[in-house]
């Protein structure tokens, strides 16, 4: 589904990603871990198409298409979803209105008519139930005055509504208490299918207790320096990053 080959990217003159290789197949869950400043969020921003970052080399293909040729909204239409680490507030626009616009734009790009409001509301109700979201939430303004947990839940709600092929969760666990974490993780698990894939970016093993990854990658200094199964995350929790990063520094 997603192939990243020797990806190099940075911001201004500062190279952050120094040759990333990653392959994600449908149905898989990949976790990307690593110390602060290793390039985790940069990687997600580059996949989503944030123009603040400049791609200096390598390529990304998504379902056979060159992702780097597409602008951010086209990537979204093709099924790339990024759950933001810091979701942005859009004052005056209700959650339902935002999601409606988002879905209509996607359908327009695919040459489909807008979804009937009745069907949309039904779908929203279903997904709200899935994520334990209370009534009244839909008419609140996008992320305005939301608590940290509500913002993250709102991201997952949008993910549920947009049904992406590839979901990237950028530190979705940060700022969540243990109950909210469980709800969000359950939501992600329920949305998982054989046709979609998930990349979980996190600092902590904690989230991976709930969303069990098929692969764990350690990102350090712009490179993936170690990959393994779910047991690698446990090992990291126990030993920290030092034992791997030291090895990488030697090389």
């Amino acid at each position: 589904m997603l192939q990243i080959k020797n990806l190099k990217a940075g911001i201004e003159d500062n190279q952050i990603l120094k040759g990333i290789n990653l392959e994600v197949k449908a149905g898989e869950v990949h976790a990307i871990m690593g110390p602060n400043g290793s390039g985790k969020s940069t990687l997600s921003a580059v996949i989503a198409g944030n123009e603040d970052y400049e791609v200096e080399g390598g390529n990304i293909t998504f379902n056979g298409e060159d992702l780097l040729e597409l602008n951010p909204e086209e990537r979204a239409h093709n099924g790339v979803f990024l759950s933001f680490q810091y979701p942005v507030e859009i004052p005056g626009i209700s959650v339902s209105n935002f999601i409606k616009t988002s879905i209509s734009e996607k359908r327009k790009a695919q040459g489909l008519d807008p979804i009937p409001t009745k069907d949309l509301l039904k779908m929203m109700r279903e997904k709200m139930e899935l994520l334990n979201i209370k009534k009244g939430y839909l008419s609140r303004n996008m992320n305005e005055g939301f608590s940290g947990g509500e913002k993250k839940r709102n991201e997952i709600f949008q993910m549920a509504m947009l049904e992406p092929k590839l979901a990237i969760l950028d530190e979705t666990d940060s700022g969540l208490d243990i109950d909210a974490l469980r709800i969000v993780a359950n939501g992600v698990n329920k949305l998982k299918s054989a046709d979609n894939a998930t990349i979980v970016i996190t600092h902590y093993q904690r989230l991976l207790d709930y969303i069990v990854p098929d692969f764990v990658h350690v990102l350090y200094n712009g490179r993936i320096i170690k990959s393994g199964g779910a047991e690698l995350a446990h090992k990291l929790e126990e030993k920290g990053y030092d034992w791997i990063t030291k090895e990488a520094d030697k090389q």
């Binding site: 909204e73 990537r75 979204a76 933001f84 859009i90 004052p91 734009e105 996008m142």
Partner: protein, 135 residues
């Protein structure tokens, strides 16, 4: 806004949008006469800036002739951020549509007060006049 009678109340909500190289000014007089005791006024002036060459200024004039009235003034300036646009882009909403959405959200307080037909027109007008204003 001129208050003559006692116990009178008023609210002013002004919303300005400055794009390109434009400058927006708000000048408003709130006058409370001597006999208009216990009167209240609340003024809110918001400005939205698009781009980095525009500006916005607020000059509230307040004249109060008695000491039992309350007059409040609040002003905010906000900018359509790259991060807001990217957020919308990521959700499949193109840049032009994202700007229209953000501007509509910003104007909602005012547009909501307009009669239905007029509000729709105003919304469309905004979309047209702001087309291409953020590069």
């Amino acid at each position: 806004m001129i208050h003559l009678g006692k116990n009178t109340k008023s609210t002013i909500i002004a919303k300005g949008i400055s794009a390109g190289k434009s400058n927006g000014n708000y000048r408003g007089l709130v006058k409370i006469s001597k006999r208009a005791t216990n009167s209240r006024n609340f003024s809110q002036c918001d400005s939205l800036l698009m781009g980095d060459k525009c500006g916005s200024h607020t000059f509230p004039y307040i004249e109060v002739k008695n000491n039992s009235s309350k007059v409040e003034h609040e002003a905010t300036t906000s900018k359509i951020g790259e991060d807001q646009i990217f957020y919308c882009n990521q959700r499949g909403i193109g840049t032009e549509a994202a700007i229209a959405l953000i501007v509509n959200g910003y104007c909602k307080d005012v547009l909501n007060q307009l009669p239905m037909e007029f509000a729709v027109e105003a919304q469309k007008l905004l979309e047209i006049s702001l087309e291409g204003s953020v590069g």
